[in-house]
Structures are given as C-alpha cells and as structure tokens.
C-alpha cells in the first residue's frame, strides 16, 4: 500500500476493485465503512455483489476478466475531458504519450459491450475519481490472479499517475495483502529474483555483496517462481523443501501437480499439522504456530510488527526458525542464531531501507515502535518510519506509464463448459484452512464446500437450491452444494477454496501471468451437473451476506 490503513477513514473517494474487503480484510473494511458514514463515495467494481457493494454509491458489475477495458476506458474519459494533472505528469512521470495513444480506442461505449458496465457509469466513475482530491484505489487478488494480472495493475497505476493521486494522505494505490506476512516474506527475499530488500539476483554487485556477507559463492542464475516450480515438479525439480504451505490445496490444477509430486525424489515438509501435502513427504518436521515464537510480520501498509512467544510448542515441536538453523547445520552450514532478533539485525545490515528497524526498537519505543510497529522505509534508528510512500517524488525517479491492451483470458466458457468459475475466500476460513477448519465455531458458521450459482443457470440445469452438484472443468471434478445466489452474474459461478474434500484447485487453471507467474484462479470454464443424492436438507449458512428466496426473486425468474 502506498497509504496507511489509518488514512482510509479520511478518504473522500474509494475505488475498490477485485477485493471482497469485508470478508478478506474485515478491519480495512471497517475503515471504509467509517469513510462512507462520513460522506465519502465508494465505488465497487466486482463480478459479484458483495457486502461492500450494499453500501456503495455504485456497484460496477463487471464481466470477469475485462478489467483492462474498464480501466482503459476510465483513462480515456479522463484524458478526453482533460481531467489530468498536467503538473504531476510533467514533473514526475514518463511515457504518458504512450498511454494516451493506447487508450484512444477504449471508448466507454465499446467498454460497455465488453464489461457489461454502462458507458454512463464508466464516465461518472472516471470523473469522480479524477476530480476528488483524496481518492484512493484498493485492490487485491481479483486484479492479480489472472493471466493478465500485471496488465491490470499497470492500468490502475496509469490512472493514479495521470491524476496525480499519489504521495498524499488518503490518495494512492493500495494492494491489500492477502496473508499476514506476504509483505515480510517478500522483504526478506523469499523470491527467485530478489535478495532481501528487493535487490536484484542478477545484479553482479549485489551478488558480490552477499557473497561477502555470507562468506560463500552464490548462483548468478535467476530462480524459478512458484508457478514454474509447480509445473516442473517431478521433471526439472526433483526435491522440495516446503515450509508452512499446503501446496496441494492452494496451487492451481492440483491433479497435475500431484502427478508431479509422485515423481519427486525427495520432499521435506515443515508444518504444525498433517495436511494434504504431507502425503507426499519423506520427512515432516513439526513446527510451532505464531503464538509459540518470536519474530515479526509486516502488514499491508509496510508496518513491521512484533510476533511474541506466548506459549511453548507441543511435544517436541520447534519454532520454524529453530528448525531451519538445525537443518542448515545438518547440511554443513555453521549458523548460530540465538534468537530472531539476531536474524533481524543480520537482515538489515545489507538492506538500507530497513536499517532503522530492530527488535529492540520494536520492543521498547512505546508510541513509535513498541505498540504500533514501524513502517519501512526507515533508514536509521532516529526515524519514525514512513506513513505514505512517494511524498517527496516517486521512488524510482519518475513514475512510468505503461500502455496496456486487453487480452482475453485463456479459458472462457464454451459449449461444453458453459459457466465461468472464479474462486476466493470467505470471512470464516483462511486459505487452506488447516487452522480455521479446526475451530468448532467457524465450522458451525460454514461447514462444507459450496458454489454460488445464479438461479437462472441453476434452474436451466434442473438444480434446486442447496442441492449437491458436480462441478467439472477440463482438469477435474469435485462435488459441492449449490446455493442460489444473486451475488454472482448469470453464467458465472463462484466457490471458496478452503475445503479439502472439495478442492477448488482441482478445477483451476495453472497458466500463470507472463511476468509474475501468478496463476489464473479467478477465471476458468466449468460446467455444473445435478447429482443424484437425496440429501438437500442440510442446513448451511454460507456467510454474512447470503441468498434468501423471496417472492420478488420468484417473479424475476419466471
């Protein structure tokens, strides 16, 4: 995020796209609700009606996968009506002309045909966004989990740059990070292309620096990203070390991945629980959960916060960092970290952006660190961190406009698979749900896998509300309960990815984004078939925002 969570309540315009905020980031949603109560305008662009759309000024009910059309058309309007921030474009950006050229043909009228959003709504949103000073964009996986995810992000940042909505409080571009520590894991360099602190793996100077620091030679080759590792599991990749991820539940097209895993020579897994992936392991290390260890998590707003050990791990389980030290030493290294604070100070030695942060500061400076954490960049111990980015100009020098054009998603509905399947999360479970599904209370709220289907599509297939169905794609099939829902558009279905007995990722497509490798969880073609089970009595409550049968709906459908 370029802004801080605390700035959201003061925003005047919020553009939420591809984020089911109230379920995936409930506390950020609270801040948004607060802004709306204060009089801010909220616009939600999402293929599903979600809770946030109930308090939105407008819900742009977009056809899945057509985001570039919407965003480029907004850019078109902003340029056409001269609502751009010329000063900002001149002083702080490059390449505006490219984008100007590229969006010429993206008229709102054409966009209407593709996105299903009226030209008028597109114009209104574009104007409102461009002319409101404190205007922020908020997005998550609905933008990135596509083959053209990176294009979506560029299209958004073009809007931000041309309106100069950056480097100010409550105005900026805010990806809401999914997991608790996505930010921290990336900062730490757990990526194939960066050393810690986003220093390039293929930069000779950086390599030399780390060779010196770590006292060993290092590989100059870029590594494989997760998507590539998974696709080459069993042939190019022969051994895996996996810490804290249930890849067989969370990765797309898992039946193919499982075949690959069976071909692997060796797999080590480090986990607090037996999960779907441990079936393939040769060795399993029992690890501690967050309450059993010290360390830091970094949240969406770049805030480094302490995780503190409250209880001992059960039996002989150990904190992940302790296991890692032992494993490295068993493999011939000579590591001797006594605690995570030492690891942190080694990390900051070679990463200037973080060098003002230490466990000690986080523990002792009440007010700036002890209770609230510190937001990086924070280059020296006398600084209090950075609330919003780009205050004094954009960090890479100038903001680069990137022209993008629409590319259709690789797998769209056809005759055989007539529906478009998207997957996502719900409020009551968390990802692979190894933790949340063990909570009795959460299980009461949501006990089993379901799909949301528009009543029209369901009736066409003879499927009743709450009936069991088979969901099939080119890659596999699963069973789940069908819930009539007007949250989804006709011809679209949606399902959560949390349930091991009905793994949505048996169905999903593993083509990745051309640059980031992020898989296309949000779009693939599927078909739904009635199953011959008699059991549709089961009482299930799919969440806070749900479908009710009503006389109006009956009328609408007949």
């Amino acid at each position: 995020m370029t802004n801080s969570i605390g700035e959201i309540r003061d925003a005047d315009f919020l553009f939420v796209i591809g984020s089911n905020t109230s379920e995936a980031h409930p506390i950020i949603a609270m801040e948004m609700k607060r802004a709306v109560k204060r009089g801010a305008t909220l616009v939600v662009a999402d293929p599903r009606a979600i809770w946030m759309s109930t308090i939105a000024e407008k819900h742009l009910h977009i056809n899945p996968g057509t985001d570039v059309w919407l965003l480029n058309a907004m850019a078109h309007v902003i340029i056409e009506e001269n609502l751009i921030d010329e000063e900002f474009i001149k002083n702080s950006t490059e390449n505006f002309e490219d984008v100007k050229e590229a969006v010429k043909n993206y008229t709102p009228e054409e966009a209407e045909k593709m996105t299903g959003i009226s030209a008028e709504d597109i114009r209104w949103t574009a104007r409102k966004y461009a002319t409101t000073k404190k205007a922020g964009i908020y997005y998550t996986l609905g933008i990135t989990e596509h083959t053209h995810g990176i294009d979506n992000v560029y299209a958004l940042s073009n809007l931000v740059l041309m309106t100069g909505h950056l480097g100010k409080p409550s105005a900026g571009m805010n990806p809401l990070r999914g997991q608790n520590n996505v930010q921290g894991a990336n900062d730490a360099g757990a990526t194939p292309v960066f050393y810690p602190g986003y220093q390039k793996v293929d930069d000779k100077e950086v390599q030399k620096k780390y060779e010196k620091s770590w006292g060993t030679s290092l590989s100059p080759n870029l590594g494989l990203n997760l998507n590539e590792m998974m696709k080459t599991a069993g042939n190019k990749i022969k051994a895996f070390f996996v810490m804290g991820e249930d890849i067989v539940l969370s990765e797309p097209n898992v039946l193919k991945l499982e075949e690959g895993l069976n071909q692997m020579e060796f797999i080590v897994i480090q986990e607090p629980f037996i999960n779907e992936t441990t079936r393939f392991a040769d060795v399993v290390f029992p690890s501690g959960v967050f309450a059993e260890k010290d360390g830091t998590f970094t949240n969406s707003e770049r805030r480094v916060q302490r995780v503190r050990k409250a209880v001992e791990p059960p039996g002989n389980a150990l904190a992940d960092w302790e296991i890692l030290v032992r494993l490295a030493n068993a493999c011939g290294a000579n590591w001797d970290y006594k605690n995570p604070a030492e690891i942190y100070s080694e990390f900051v030695k070679d990463t200037p952006k973080f060098s003002g942060i230490s466990h000690e500061r986080l523990d002792t400076e009440i007010g700036t660190g002890g209770k609230t954490g510190l937001q990086w960049p924070c280059e020296n111990p006398s600084e209090t961190g950075t609330k919003y980015l780009h205050e004094n100009g954009i960090s890479r020098g100038k903001g680069l406009f990137q022209a993008v054009s629409f590319e259709p998603s690789p797998e769209l509905p056809c005759e055989e698979y007539g529906l478009l399947l998207s997957t996502g999360r719900t409020l009551y479970h968390y990802n692979a749900a190894t933790q949340t599904r063990r909570e009795e209370g959460l299980a009461l709220k949501q006990s089993e896998a379901f799909i949301e289907i528009h009543p029209k599509d369901a009736k066409k297939r003879g499927i009743a509300h709450k009936e069991m169905v088979e969901v099939r794609t080119r890659r596999g099939s699963i069973e789940a309960r069908a819930l009539y829902s007007r949250q989804v558009r006709p011809h679209c279905i949606w399902m959560p990815l949390h349930f091991a007995e009905a793994r949505a990722n048996v169905l999903t497509n593993d083509v990745g984004d051309k640059i980031t490798g992020t898989a296309s969880y949000k779009i693939c073609a599927a078909e739904v078939f009635k199953l011959d089970t008699k059991d549709h009595s089961h009482d299930i409550f799919p969440g806070a925002f749900f479908f009710e049968e009503s006389p109006e709906l009956e009328k609408e459908l007949s």
Binding site: I55, G178, Y344, R438
Partner: protein, 359 residues
C-alpha cells in the same frame, strides 16, 4: 482555544468533548456508555462534571468543550453524585462480585469500589428476558446488562451489520436480535466487538466461560500480531501460564485499547476467536520419517534432520542445485523467510525460492 480543567489551562480544538480535553491533563472521569469510536449518547450519567455557570452537572462525554470554560472533575457534589449513581447501578446487579464477573471485570463493581458507593441499598429482581443462543462465541448475561447500548451501537456504527438491538422497555430492556434468533442466523459476523465494548461483561466470551478459564486478572497478556490476513491487527493473547503442564495456554484473545494500534481496538472473527487451533489435539509433536513400508514413523530430531539433509544433498549432487525448490511461507515470520532464502542460496546454491504471494 483554551479552557480550564481543575484550575489548569488546556488547549483544545473545535469539536472535542469535555471528556477528551479533560483526559489530556489526566483527569480521571468514570464512563460506562462512552466509547471513543462511537457517537456519544450521554445515557449513563457516570461522567458528569461541573461547568462553571451551569446549574446542573453536565455529561462530559457528550458536551462539547467551549472556549473559556472552567471545568471541575472532582468535588463533593460530584463525589456524592457518583456514590449515588453506582449504588443505584449495584441494586440491579448480582449479589456478589464473584457472581457478577465470572471471567471479565465488571466496571460497575470497579467504580462502586473506587468511589466507595454504599453496597447495601438492596437488590432489584431481574426481569430481563434471557435468550437461548447456540452461537459458539458470544454469551449474553441479562443479569448484568445495564442497557447502555454500547454493543448495539458498535454493531451498528462500526461493524455496520446491526445484528443486535435494544428490546423491551423500562427495567425489562434487554439486548436481543430480530425474532430472538441465534446470532448465527442473523447478519452477525461474529466480530466480538460487542463483547469488547461491554462495560459489565454482560456480553462475554463464551469459550473461556464454558471452559471455566481463570479470571482475566490472573491471565498474562502477551501483545502479538494476528496470523491471518494482511491487515496485521495487534492482539493481546491472554495466557494461562500454568495450564498445559506449564507450557501455557491461550485462553482468549482481546484487542489492545482504542487509538493505540492500526486496528483501533477492533478485531474480526478470526483474530478474536480462531485461537483454539493452537492447542489442538491434531498438532504434530514429533518429527516423522517415512519408513520402507511407506508409513510415517515418529523419530528423534537428530535422525529426522540427518535423513532430510542426506535426501536434499543427494538430489543436489545427482541433478544439480537447480533441481531443488524451496517453498517458503508468507504465514511465517520475516526472520524465517530470511533463513529459508539463505538456506536455498547460501547452502544449496540455488535461487529457486518463492512463496505463495500473489499480491
């Protein structure tokens, strides 16, 4: 703008309440219906103070500060008011403090003690209606409810779902839901905010109650960060240090005070209630190594580490370093991610390291 609190000048800006201004100079004013996140309603009368020139005592949580005001927060008149008020509140509470606060502090008793309110004014019969609710997390105790409506207002103003409401009238007033449904069957999102704001514990956590956890006072609070989503809410893990043969047990999770952290005193259902996995019987407690027969066998750390090291090094030797893949985790700490990438790069000489991080 400037005003005087107990003879001391304080600067303030437009829109601040007397309570807010007075707290800047550390004046202690008891409050029950007030919460910094909510619109003030001035319903409970516990925060009354004296304003020079005004005949009646005024509710400081509600009344806006004005330039030149002279405010007194402690004197005989205010003290008499407090004694009377809390003595009255006590008549509508259970007999003993133990009964009134099985697990959480009840502020009526707290204030009654602090202001030495008489405890012998008798007890009213409790006629508020109880309601069965099979929801797993939120417990409602009509006996201690004082109808301050903090829970109702929180649910409406902050969580925005209006799942609960004030029902009935007069001394029968109680907290209920539409058609007295279980919270599970309403718009409730189980955020537990109603529990957090309740001054008496009438809204309370069900899990520690049903599991007979120790009183809040005997638990140790450990400040940590939620391990679910990327908001990074700050939590207080409430730990019973003696439980679990001295390994300790998290028996409840609460939020840090309002205004102190990013989450501003709020949590969602996962942060507040999903902690029982920590102590779950399915937790792995021993390293496992697969035997010749394909089954897992528990083993020692020495052995498991040796097998793992041999296996990984063997593959590296046979097929080269780039035939290894390291999958790290965005659920784990920054420090652990740092170690995984260092393991992959410095020990095994490959950059094949990544985690599931799409945004």
């Amino acid at each position: 703008m400037k005003l005087k609190v107990n003879g001391q000048f304080v600067n303030f800006s437009e829109g601040e309440t007397i309570l807010e201004v007075a707290s800047k100079v550390g004046a202690e004013i008891p409050t029950l219906c007030h919460d910094a996140r909510l619109n003030p309603v001035g319903a409970c009368r516990s925060c009354l103070v004296e304003v020079e020139g005004s005949r009646r005592l005024v509710p400081s949580c509600y009344q806006k500060a004005e330039d030149g005001m002279e405010i007194t927060t402690e004197n005989d008149r205010i003290e008499r008011h407090r004694k009377t008020l809390f003595a009255l509140y006590l008549t509508d509470q259970p007999e003993t403090r133990e009964q009134a606060e099985p697990h959480k502090t009840n502020e009526i008793f707290e204030f009654a003690e602090r202001y030495e309110a008489p405890q012998n004014w008798g007890k009213m019969e409790n006629i508020r209606e109880d309601r069965e609710d099979r929801n797993p997390y939120v417990n409602f105790e009509p006996e201690t409810c004082i109808s301050c409506a903090r829970c109702v207002r929180y649910c409406d103003e902050i969580e925005g779902v209006s799942a609960i409401t004030l029902a009935d009238r007069g001394s029968k007033t109680t907290i209920s839901t539409v058609d007295s449904l279980s919270l599970l069957d309403t718009t409730c999102e189980m955020c537990g905010g109603c529990i957090d704001v309740c001054p008496t514990g009438a809204m309370g956590e069900k899990i520690p109650l049903t599991k007979n956890a120790k009183h809040e006072r005997e638990l140790e609070k450990v400040r940590s960060t939620c391990n679910f989503c990327g908001v990074g809410c700050q939590l207080e893990l409430n730990v019973d240090k003696e439980a679990n043969d001295g390994k300790g047990q998290v028996v409840k999770v609460t939020s840090p005070p309002v205004g102190e952290t990013t989450n501003d005193g709020n949590l969602c259902v996962k942060g507040r209630f999903a902690y029982e996995f920590i102590n779950h019987e399915d937790r792995l407690t021993e390293p496992l190594v697969r035997g010749e027969d394909g089954q897992f066998y528990p083993t020692t750390w020495e052995n498991a580490l040796e097998v793992a090291a041999k296996g990984l090094l063997g593959v590296a030797e046979r097929h080269g370093a780039d035939s290894l893949g390291f999958v790290s985790s965005s659920r784990c700490t920054m420090e652990e991610n740092y170690l995984v990438q260092k393991l992959s790069r410095a020990v095994f000489k490959t950059n094949n390291v990544h985690q599931c991080a799409a945004t």
